[in-house]
Amino acid sequence: MDGAIVQAVRLRKVYRGANEVEALRGIDIEVERGEMIAIVGPSGSGKTTLLNCLSGLDAFDGGKVVVDGQDLSAMSDRARTAYRRDHMGFVFQAFNLLPVLSAVENVEIPLLLQNVSSRDSRRRALEMLEALGLAHRANHRPDQLSGGEQQRVAVARALVHKPAVVWADEPTGNLDTEVTQVIVELLVRMNKDGQTIVLVTHNPQVAERARRTLHMRDGRIEVASTERARAVR
């Protein structure tokens, strides 16, 4: 372990509206570099909110989040955007590939946003697809791919620019058991290669493969982290 890459201190998030909802109630959390953490809990417990705040997708109302030495709470929207672009990868439940682009074009988006040259972007995107066994589907559009293939493309997109952390929100929520297994194995393999991964899941089998699991309820981490993934692996 190389020390904490993500640190959150007394993290608070309130949804304001007709009825105020305190989604995160002073959460403290650390994610070690190269770790794979699963956040689990019932619906409405705040796990996705936590992931969104840690990853810089959402602003928060109190506390502090430091990722790889950078304090997200002190960043403007523009700076957070740039930070996400350069240091983070995302996998979503609904794959969220751009339907107008082919698989390889989807994968190269983060590289192009970083102003990597077109040629290098394409080469690295193809290498990533090949690594995930999708080289033969590189020029297919999302609507020509199966659910599992789409999610693998999404994983490729999350990893292609070598982010510090990959954030995955229910990455297997839309997949059947067999394909879920494939995606989980993929994430575990990436983690073995040193990739830090934070995932939110409802699926206990997916959570089991993480090194640590955080149980959330009512905006708090209820159960202390458990170390077990190393043994599983």
Partner: protein, 930 residues
């Protein structure tokens, strides 16, 4: 700098910038292109929606260009090679001056031709056909000097310079031949005051070269042949021609004019002659007049473009909403808000250019159709207007401007829309969840903008004229709305903002004091737009009130309508823009349905006073024939002078207009001879007006110049003569200007004729009586016609304007209708899952269909109500200003027809998308898109 060049330059700059952006950020360019071509059918519909603005703008450009070409070509045709005219205010002078001028060594080589001539207003009777034509211009020319001024081409194919005409032979213009039904060989009686001559028609000159001279009914005669009419008085005009053709010829003549003046000064008897650059002045006046009209046409087209912009905003919002999850992913992956906006603008650039280019063909066709339908009607007055041949013009410059303006308006609108839609909470947007509530922190730029807006608005309120104050107030309302954002509910905020805008606009419209001022036009335009969007916003944000009556409906109907109302209520901006686009157009439709009937009604009522007009422009002693005395209840005969020349009024100058000048004797003035519709406010009664007319030689009354207090300037032999319109006459038969004998004295050199206005006795047929009078007086060069004919001719010009406005606003309505159709289509895409869910819950296809159609109909109904609600009071303000006391008339039939057609069109365009929605299989619709 030329505004057109500026616009085109801006277009090139903006699109070059976008091209550079596309090259620099290929990912954005690729995404924009792929989104645009992904669904060609839908993109085509988007382009169709966006092209309306350019189409309207280009149609008006074609109209303006065609009117410009027609009018300027008309000026060139009417003067031919007559570039300069030397005259002594119509008085006769020695023809030797022309000879001396032609022989002047300084001018000899510079001038192409110098010709002695005569120009007088006469009446011509065709004795063989039994027809008469008053107000014929008698053009006397010197055949020996005719060469440089062109050859007459006759309808039989021959040509002549006039040298071969016998001493009793003359030529006539094609328009005069048409009026008299004359044939070569006919005997013509030409009447000029007390004198008359019988001449023979040698040929009919085609309307080209010298045969088109004046572009009015004219008789062309060698000077010698006019001796029986003018004796040895000499000539009253010298015509001079420069070398070359067209503009070059005018420019040369312009350079020569000072030399000609100097040469005349040196000649004995030449001092009193004034040299005018007749063709150039006329040409320039036409250019100025057309430019003034072009501003009006452009303003109309911008009205449509504004309605089109509302459609663009709605389309932009619909597209942004559909793509929100995908855009959120890009934001998550690191694309900034600026990148987001760039992406939308790049896609918008493709649509906007495609739409602008595609719009050119229908815009051109529509513009040409407008020209064909309107030109002749707009340019035909009650008394001898020029018969200008219509020119159809489509110029590359106008095309470029229309494309540039249309594309820039669309792009700017899409830019503003994309700035708004790029604000998103990424985590919610990725899952396509609604934006969470809460106050957004205002950016530094936003705060700075509001500060500038506030300061500017306060300055405008304190220091500005009425339209500037109106704009200042609007700015303050917007500022207040922005400041209370988040502190009160959005619905209350929109309602208060809308209400404040409406009340402010109404207060300003009510504050107009002088309806004819330039300020009042700006206030009406701004006020209407403000009131429409204010009211639309207030209505759209309160549509949920319609849910109250929903409670009275049965369960099925309630369930059918509830989602539609919910969608409309949830998006007040979209609903407000849809409503506003309709309302904006219906305001003008309503105004045309009130203003024109009210104006026409006012003057039509004048027909009860007198219904026949007898014209004898060269016969001072004409009276009604005894044979019709029993059919006439009353009549008035006035001395009339046929003024033809420059008329300045309301900032416009017309160089070659006919204005009959009526002299009313003291006795006639004392009898208050005509009903008045409107008078200057300083006069307490009509009697005061007539008394003032008797006392003040600068005061006149007129049905032609309808603004009391306005100044009309004519040019008499001694120079400009200013008249002030004291009151407006209701009877159109008095077309021209009427004043005391003293008022008309400066025009004493003009021939004196007679105009008789008569009212037929009860039971007498007006048309038959007019024909009887015409037969009895035609041999005296007089003409009788019903005043209803004159009224129809003049109201036709007004009607032509109305038709133009209605046709153009028809495009505007098309925008609104298309907007609803397109939005319905987009709604099917956007709400696919919701529709699937409703179907899964048990909604029948019919309910889905009824829900979508009713959504469009509710928007159209709100638009119609807001439009009529703003249009009626605005019309009242205008009528009160122009015709105080006039009784309001509403053309309810056409307004009902317009609104009915509107509903039919809305039904027609929404039914197909609604059917598509209704037929979506629930399972398929429930699947995630893409």
């Amino acid at each position: 700098m030329n505004l057109a060049l500026l616009v085109i330059g801006l277009f090139v700059l903006v699109y070059s910038g976008l091209l550079a952006l596309a090259i620099r950020r290929p990912l954005l360019a690729r995404l924009a292109l792929r989104e645009a071509v992904r669904r060609p059918g839908q993109s085509a519909i988007v382009v169709l929606g966006l092209m309306i603005g350019t189409m309207a703008i280009f149609a008006m450009q074609v109209l303006g260009d065609s009117f410009y070409d027609s009018q300027t070509r008309g000026a060139l045709l009417a003067w031919g090679h007559v570039d300069l005219v030397a005259a002594d205010g119509g008085r006769f002078f020695d023809p030797g001056l022309a000879t001396a001028l032609a022989a002047d060594p300084g001018l000899h080589s510079s001038l192409s031709g110098v010709q002695a001539g005569v120009e007088l207003t006469s009446s011509v009777v065709d004795l063989d056909r039994g027809n008469a034509k008053p107000l014929v211009i008698l053009v006397g020319f010197d055949p020996a000097a005719q060469g440089p001024f062109g050859t007459y081409r006759l309808t039989d194919g021959t040509t002549t310079l006039g040298q071969n005409l016998a001493d009793d032979e003359v030529l006539i213009s094609a328009s005069l031949a048409n009026a008299l039904d004359a044939r070569p060989g006919d005997r013509l009686r030409v009447l000029l005051g007390p004198k008359e001559a019988e001449l023979r028609l040698a040929g009919i000159a085609e309307a080209q070269g010298p045969g088109a001279y004046t572009l009015r009914p004219a008789l062309f005669s060698p000077l010698a042949n006019l001796r029986p009419l003018i004796g040895d008085q000499g000539i009253n005009v010298i015509r001079l021609a420069g070398h070359g053709e067209g503009r070059a010829e005018m420019d040369r003549a312009h350079d020569l004019a000072p030399q000609v003046r100097a040469a005349l000064q040196a000649l004995p008897g030449g001092v009193s002659l004034k040299v005018r650059e007749s063709k150039r002045e006329d040409f320039d006046a036409q250019v100025k007049q057309v430019a003034g009209n072009a501003s009006f046409y452009t303003a109309l087209s911008l009205f449509v473009a504004l309605a089109g912009a509302a459609l663009v905003v709605n389309l932009g919002l619909a597209l942004a909403e559909e793509r929100r999850p995908r855009h959120a992913v890009l934001r998550a992956l690191g694309l900034g808000r600026a990148g987001m906006v760039s992406l939308s603008v790049l896609e918008g650039a493709l649509y906007s250019v495609a739409a602008a280019v595609v719009a050119i063909v229908p815009g051109a066709l529509f513009g040409l159709a407008l020209v064909a339908l309107l030109y002749v009607r707009v340019h035909t007055g009650a008394v001898e207007s020029r018969a200008v041949p219509v020119q159809y013009a489509i110029t590359p410059g106008s095309m470029a401007i229309s494309i540039a303006v249309g594309a820039l308006i669309v792009l700017a609108t899409l830019f503003a829309t994309s700035v708004r839609s790029s604000r998103m909470q990424i985590s919610s947007a990725i899952k396509n969840l609604p934006e969470p509530p809460g106050r957004r922190k205002r950016s530094m730029w936003g705060t700075a903008f509001l500060a500038v807006l506030g300061l500017g608005s306060i300055a405008a309120l304190i220091a500005g004229s009425l339209p500037v104050r109106l704009a200042g107030g609007v700015g303050l309302v917007i500022l207040a709305a922005a400041m209370v954002g988040g502190r009160i509910s959005d619905r209350l905020r929109a309602t208060l903002t809308g209400a404040a805008l409406t009340v402010w606009a109404a207060a300003n419209l009510g504050a107009i004091e002088n309806i004819v001022s330039n300020d009042s036009g700006a206030v009406i335009l701004l006020g209407v737009v403000t009131a429409v969007f204010g009211l639309s916003l207030a209505v759209a944000s309160n549509l949920r009130l319609l849910e109250l009556p929903l409670g009275w409906l049965q369960g099925g109907s309630r369930a059918t309508l509830r989602p539609s109302l919910a969608y409309l209520t949830r998006r007040p901006l979209r609903a407000g823009l849809g409503t506003g686009a309709f309302a904006l157009i219906l305001v003008l439709m309503t105004m045309t349905s009130i203003l024109v009937p009210t104006f026409n009604g006012t003057f039509r009522s004048g027909l009860n006073e007198y219904d026949i007009r007898v014209d004898a422009p060269t016969n001072a002693g004409l009276s009604l024939p005894d044979s019709v005395r029993s059919q006439i209840a009353r009549s008035i005969a006035m001395q009339t002078r046929p003024y033809r020349g420059e008329v300045r009024q309301g900032g416009f100058t017309l160089k070659d207009e006919y204005v009959p000048l009526y002299s009313l004797s003291r006795t006639q003035l004392a009898t208050r001879p005509f009903e008045l519709t409107n008078r200057e406010s300083r006069f307490k009664s009509d009697a005061d007006v007539w008394q003032a007319l008797a006392d003040d030689p600068h005061l006149v009354v007129s049905p032609t110049y309808t603004i009391p207090g306005d100044t009309v300037t004519l040019v008499g032999p001694e120079g400009p003569v200013q008249f002030r319109v004291a009151a407006v006459v209701r009877n159109i038969g008095l077309w021209g200007i009427a004043g005391s004998e003293a008022a008309m004295a400066p025009f004493a050199t003009l021939p004196v004729g007679t105009t008789i206005l008569a009212k037929t006795a009860p039971g007498a047929d007006v048309a038959v009586t007019a024909r009887q009078i015409g037969r009895a007086v035609f041999s005296q060069g007089a003409e009788a016609r019903t005043i209803k004919e004159m009224f129809d001719t003049t109201s036709s010009a007004g009607q032509a304007f109305t038709d133009m406005i209605r046709l153009l606003m028809g495009i505007g309505l098309l925008v609104g209708v298309l907007s609803l159709g397109i939005l319905a289509l987009r709604a099917v895409i956007e709400r696919r899952r919701s529709i699937g869910m409703l179907r899964a819950l048990g909604y029948r296809p019919g309910q889905v269909l009824a829900g979508m159609v009713s959504e469009a109909l509710i928007t159209a109904t709100c638009g119609a109500l807001v439009g009529i609600g703003v249009g009626v009071p605005t019309s009242v303000v205008m009528i009160t200003g122009y015709l105080p006391g006039a009784s309001l008339e509403i053309d309810g039939t056409s307004l009902t027809l317009i609104v009915s057609l509107l509903y039919l069109a809305v039904l027609a365009v929404t039914i197909l998308p609604a059917l598509r929605a209704a037929n979506l299989p629930a399972v398929e619709a429930l699947r995630l898109e893409d």
